[in-house]
Symmetry: C2
Subunit: 269 residues, 2 copies
């Protein structure tokens, strides 16, 4: 299994604090040592750091922890392999261009033996996750056009995600750099930080931050994760089937679908 992390903010914000906590779970405080990746949107562009090894001991992850990269949307994943070998092609997040936008996808869960409907987008690696991403994009491309409203597109994303959730565990982060769509079948939590900002302490590393000194009163920054990253803040836990569309740090659409009850799979070895 894997862990997810995403950020949605109304001003370009770095992910150093949260990324430091998550990457510790990639081989130090957690078993997710089979790859890590993080996508940072900057305007319409996106840059992705990917590696097929453990984030906790990665020199490049260390640079990303300490070198502030400012984004309004970021998507991050640490992997413990179940389907697909440990290699770069199987490392999330995955990126494809659709309608002149880079779409980024990270998934936690398993839909064993999933095969995408034939279409334009094809997986490069052999994970069920990338196959799901291609299937999702192929369906969007055939069902929708670039002028579709955000609300109508979200309705379709909810329909597709609910279908996938009936076939297996499907915790999802999806973004086009503008909005961030999140869908939970087993585990997901979020926190929205806004003025008055306070301090926070990571669960996985001896690191504290005082957000007051790093923000302005207008900043709104939300973080969405598999498991809460801090010990002294109140995280908002998603229900199974719950989805939220984030835009500039806030939830702009949300709902809860009926999905089969599933236990969060134990980490495979």
């Amino acid at each position: 299994m894997c862990e997810l992390l995403a950020m949605s903010a109304n001003t370009p914000t770095d992910l150093c604090f949260s990324f430091t906590g998550l990457t510790r779970r990639g081989g130090a405080t957690g078993p997710h040592r089979d790859g890590w990746g993080v996508a940072f949107y900057e305007g319409k562009g996106v840059r992705v750091f990917l590696e097929s090894g453990a984030s906790a001991s990665s020199r490049i992850a260390e640079v990303v922890q300490t070198h502030p990269i400012k984004s309004e949307v970021a998507v991050c994943h640490i992997r413990q392999a179940n389907v697909g070998e440990v290699c770069l092609a199987n490392t999330h997040p995955f990126v494809r261009e659709l309608w002149g936008q880079y779409w980024t996808f990270a998934h936690n869960g398993q839909l064993q033996g999933f095969r995408p409907s034939p279409g334009f987008y094809q997986p490069v690696g052999d994970t069920d996750s990338e196959a799901l991403f291609c299937d999702l994009l192929n369906r969007i491309r055939s069902d929708s056009d670039p002028g579709i409203s955000r609300q109508a597109l979200t309705d379709r994303l909810v329909t597709y995600a609910t279908e996938y959730a009936h076939r297996g565990v499907f915790n999802l982060l999806l973004s086009n750099g503008d909005w961030l769509f999140t869908f939970c079948t087993t585990r997901m939590a979020s926190i929205t930080r806004r003025a008055p900002f306070g301090p926070a302490r990571l669960k996985d590393a001896d690191v504290t931050v005082d957000f007051e000194s790093e923000t302005t009163p207008n900043d709104i920054v939300s973080v969405i994760v598999t498991e809460p990253l801090t010990t002294d803040e109140q995280w908002d836990i998603y229900a199974p089937g719950e989805w939220r569309l984030w835009f500039k740090g806030e939830v702009v659409q949300s709902g809860c679908e009926s999905v089969p009850a599933r236990s969060h799979p134990h980490p495979s070895v």
Copy 2:
């Protein structure tokens, strides 16, 4: 204008030495301070480091210089902007998935006002280079199928590239992670290193390497650049219109097309 660098090798090889030389030209020994990027293939996967600032002063470029990432194919670009603002979305190399492979494109030159034929792939940024890449992929997708032989595909790439070269300066690096296609209209040079390996000294930094100590007798490693990177080796200069298809460090197809004579544009400010 910009400078290009690529590598094709028969064994996973790091690019540290050549990348160190090139990145110096991104704001120190050269004026290409408007972004840099490098794509490293690892198996079918690819990871791309991108930044919209000067490589010579980049902390991330410094890590890439000193942290050996082993690839059989790498594609690199440093940018001095002419068409399109300085931003991440306009930073080469560009990547798209076609037929379940990641295709990577870097371009040096200018085809002002180029508009791609409508098609599946759309540019995200506003450079002529990315528009060319999308046009090229749309044409491949409509003219060819995934089963096309490498030789037949190369013939088509040559046809497309020659057409583009009639419309402006078109120095090209293109790879699917397997082969590396290079096309020159104004400036390009290559070197193939194989046993017996010797030392080499960079032109742009006080750095010498002894390839003998870093290789095995079977290694074949070729580097393709806009301007030679070393002072004490014999580089093979491309003629205008010359193209070479590299595979595992060696040229497997090549030719020379008739293209309009063009001076290499002076760097724009």
